[in-house]
């Protein structure tokens, strides 16, 4: 069994500063090219009477050759005596920043190439900045084309000083600087006789010195819940919480807490396929668990250990964002946030400052983030999410932003700003200040209807007879001369919601529409009834807010697992429909929504 370790390295730098040549050299000098490849490329250069370039070795794709620039992240494999490397060639051309980001985010270390002759250019700075934001902590700077500077130590030192000063401003400290000539092979695989003044490692030597992985194991336990599986149809009754452990370790029997829902349970078993029974799992593992108690949780929650330092929960936070979308990021629009396995609707609530990564110019006046801007911003989600600050836990403290189906930006969380008014609360406040009523007042309607208005939400697991109950309640109230209406979900789906059906998950927007509708119906004096599958605390809270200032009544059917919500009425099961309906009617009477003699 081979147990050699493997490491991903990214190579970045301004276009034409020599990345491809460095890679070509690394491949050639470690003997990693297919046999005869080098000769074949040399031969083809001779035939076309153009000078041989190590960079040609990389030109695997035709359009690359035709455009003369590296268009995408390409991966090359080579090995040293110590370990195997995958070198990710991230394009230097500004057009391809997206590709550079893709490449760099997969790397554990970066080589940043700067042309000694041309000096620090726009992308030398931008890439230095991006690599740091992406979380690559080990950066080595290759000062290339030293042959053009006659291998002068002074030139190398001057560039080193200038670039170190730049990196210091963005809190990056490179591991090392190496003077090289990729074309001539100086300091790539073997020390350069032309630069006896340099005493550090060669590029290959430096690669082998980079550290790999490690520390994540020792951090607080974090598992973003990716999915909940139950393969009952295949005769498997396990209910498995699945996800990849981002940090820390966990063992069977331990207590766990899910955020933002606040639900608790403990780990009954660690599940896996084709392995010996597992008693613990650690950072990096794509794992699965069964829980000791039946709780209802959703993908996107963060599973943590209650005794560990806790993550943040909130709807508003400060973040550093880099934007690579064609259309600018603007406060006018809604976006989708993906943080760990959580997804949420998000808005740009404010821009603190923007940074032009090329010249580090700071602006405090920009109203939007343009393509390739980096900005310190305030973001607001419509529902609470659990996260960490990037400074304490990197992998659970970063996110991407989706605009119009595309990942258009990424960012790291700097500070939790939650606690103030949420987007929803502000919406309600503004809505109510503009609400327009006719001349008929709520009190007039109550007097005429001889009951008060109410929004009744019946919720519980699917197939518990909630709909039948809701309809029966409507009939009973109607027979007793109440002004009432039952809203069926199918009616919404094909009507109010028809415009949403093409968009995948729109549960949040559906809820908003139901809530707004309830506000209107209760304003019209109705007892407005609806049945919703598996509403959680947050759903109820949202409906309650949206229906304000009118009142909501929650009926739980079967097993609900609310943490903060106490339903006004719990009905274990609807064996006797008449009895269940009567209980709701009695409750309405006791709350003086309807009067006793009405039923």
């Amino acid at each position: 069994m081979h147990t050699r370790s493997q490491m991903n390295i990214v190579i970045v730098g301004h276009v034409d500063h020599g990345k491809s040549t460095v890679i070509g050299r690394l491949l050639a000098d470690t003997g990693s090219l297919p046999e005869g490849k080098l000769d074949a490329v040399r031969e083809s250069c001779r035939r076309n009477s153009k000078p041989f370039e190590y960079a040609f070795l990389l030109d695997a794709l035709k359009d690359e050759q035709s455009q003369g620039i590296t268009i995408d992240t390409a991966r090359c494999f080579f090995k040293t005596a110590y370990r195997d490397y995958i070198i990710i060639d991230a394009p230097g051309h500004i057009e391809f920043l997206k590709n550079m980001i893709t490449g760099a985010s997969r790397a554990e270390a970066a080589l940043l190439v700067i042309d000694a002759h041309e000096g620090i250019r726009e992308n030398s700075k931008r890439h230095g900045h991006m690599v740091a934001m992406l979380g690559v902590r080990q950066v080595t700077v290759l000062v290339n084309k030293m042959d053009l500077a006659d291998y002068r130590q002074a030139d190398f030192e001057a560039l080193k000083e200038e670039y170190t000063a730049y990196l210091r401003q963005i809190d990056v400290e490179p591991v090392s600087f190496i003077p090289v000539s990729a074309r001539e092979g100086d300091n790539i695989a073997s020390p350069s006789p032309a630069m006896p003044w340099y005493e550090g490692p060669t590029v290959l030597g430096q690669l082998d010195r980079f550290r790999s992985g490690g520390e994540l194991r020792d951090k607080p336990f974090r598992l973003p819940v990716q999915d909940i599986y139950k393969f009952t149809q295949s005769g498997d009754d396990r209910r498995i919480v699945a996800g990849t452990i981002e940090a820390g370790t966990v063992a069977a029997g331990e207590e766990v807490l899910f955020l933002p829902s606040g639900k608790r349970s403990s780990i009954a078993s660690i599940e896996s396929f084709n392995t010996p029974v597992k008693h613990s799992a650690e950072a990096g593992e794509a794992s699965g668990f069964t829980l000791a108690t039946q709780i209802y949780i959703r993908p996107g929650e963060l599973m943590v250990r209650p005794s560990d330092p806790q993550p943040e929960v909130g709807t508003r936070f400060r973040a550093n964002i880099f934007w690579v979308g064609r259309v600018p990021m603007s406060p006018e629009k809604e976006y989708k946030l993906k943080l760990g396995t959580a997804r949420a609707t998000v808005r740009l609530a404010g821009i603190v400052s923007t940074l032009d990564a090329s010249d580090l110019r700071l602006s405090r006046t920009k109203q939007q983030l343009d393509n390739r801007d980096v900005g310190e911003c305030i973001l607001e989600t419509t529902r609470p999410i659990a996260f960490d600050l990037a400074s304490t836990s990197e992998t659970t403290g970063r996110f991407v932003i989706v605009d119009n189906y595309e990942i258009a930006g990424g960012g790291i969380v700097l500070e939790n700003l939650s606690g103030g008014e949420t987007i929803l609360e502000r919406h309600i406040r503004e809505r109510e200040s503009h609400w327009e009523t006719g001349n008929v007042l709520a009190a007039d309607r109550e007097r005429a209807n001889r009951h008060r208005a109410k929004f009744i939400v019946i919720t519980g697991p699917p197939h518990t007879g909630k709909r039948a109950l809701a309809r029966e309640l409507e009939s009973l109230l109607f027979r007793n001369a109440c002004s009432t209406y039952y809203l069926g979900m199918a009616a919404i789906e094909h009507g109010l919601e028809a415009d949403l059906r093409r968009h995948g998950d729109h549960a949040e927007e559906r809820l908003r529409r139901i809530g707004e509708l309830a506000r209107i119906m209760t304003d019209a004096g109705q007892i407005f009834i609806t049945a919703i599958d598996d509403a959680d605390d947050r759903d109820i809270e949202t409906l309650k807010l949206l229906n304000e200032p009118n009142e909501i009544l929650v009926v739980g059917v079967g097993e609900n697992d609310f943490v903060s919500t106490t339903p006004d009425l719990d009905i274990d099961s609807i064996d006797d429909l008449f009895l269940a309906v009567s209980r709701i009617a009695e409750l309405l009477a006791s709350k003086e929504i309807i009067s006793d003699y009405q039923i």
Binding site: P34, L61, S105
Partner: protein, 292 residues
């Protein structure tokens, strides 16, 4: 975690992400070693189950053992097994083995076209009935919007540029120059109507990793990969008229791993036994048309 554990964890994460995000998802199974490892990884991801339909394109020229192996595993592992084909081209003999087309055109007919129309649901799909142990026309014909494929970056040049989640437009074509960014394990899981996404959980694996993993997990693979006494074995599997075995006497997994490790195959491309790659434009031209 060693390097195989890391590769496995990443692939499992990708598979779960695909399963979570795509309502209409399928996985291509060519019967070869890579997509068989992929299938095994799905069993890892879903704790012994494979809740994703497997699609195989039957060219009618596959080495017979491949089909026999496919159906045996489908029954044993309780797979939702589907195949599709280009019936018209086979019946009209518009193929290379029938002497009526060149190799590339044959691939285009029997594979690219068949695949495209099977995925879109335009052409019939056949599904394994586990009670009757035979295939039946499948009534479901919704297009697959997520297609999981077992390509690896180290296979050849054009594959080294793929993303884990790679969008294709309705014509199946791939815009290599303008791909969405992919970082921090966040992938393109939102897609516009009329487009679909190819998902590549094995992108970071090498040929050697695949064999090491097959050995570690003891995954049953089709015996064509081993020398069975003739001093040859297949390194890459396809249709019999266009696939040649390589000279090798490796009879076991560990012999294959040693052979790859020794570098004796280092100068030889993995797909060198696949004749269609060598024709003009070769694999890359085919890939742009949606070939896997």
């Amino acid at each position: 975690m060693n390097h195989l554990d890391k590769l496995e964890a990443q692939s499992v994460y990708i598979l779960r992400e695909a399963y979570r995000e795509f309502k209409s998802l399928c996985m291509l199974w060519s019967i070869g070693k890579d997509s068989t490892v992929l299938l095994w990884l799905a069993r890892k991801a879903f704790f012994g189950h494979v809740p994703i339909p497997l699609v195989h394109i039957d060219t009618h020229f596959k080495i017979p053992e491949m089909i026999e192996y496919r159906d045996r595993m489908a029954l044993e592992w309780n797979l939702n097994m589907i195949y599709g084909e280009n019936r018209e081209a086979v019946v009209a003999k518009q193929t290379f083995p029938d002497g009526n087309t060149d190799r590339i055109t044959c691939c285009r007919h029997l594979k690219s076209e068949a695949l495209k129309r099977t995925l879109s649901g335009e052409w019939p799909r056949y599904r394994m009935n586990h009670d009757l142990k035979r295939y039946e026309p499948d009534e479901k014909n919704e297009p697959y919007t997520g297609v999981i494929v077992g390509v690896r970056a180290d296979e050849e040049g054009s594959r080294s540029k793929e993303r884990y989640f790679s969008p294709r437009d309705s014509g199946n074509s791939w815009d290599v120059g303008d791909q969405p960014p992919e970082f921090w394990n966040q992938f393109k899981t939102d897609f516009a109507p009329g487009t679909h996404v190819r998902i590549h959980p094995l992108l970071d694996w090498t040929e050697l990793n695949i064999w090491e993993y097959i050995e570690r997990e003891n995954i049953p693979i089709v015996s064509l990969y081993f020398d069975r006494g003739e001093g040859t074995r297949y390194r890459s599997l396809g249709c019999w008229p266009c696939t040649n075995p390589i000279e090798s006497s490796s009879r076991t997994l560990s012999e294959i791993i040693d052979e790859l490790g020794s570098g004796s195959l280092a100068g030889v491309a993995e797909r060198s036994g696949r004749a269609q790659d060598k024709e003009d434009g070769g694999l890359e031209t085919l890939r742009r048309d949606g070939y896997m």
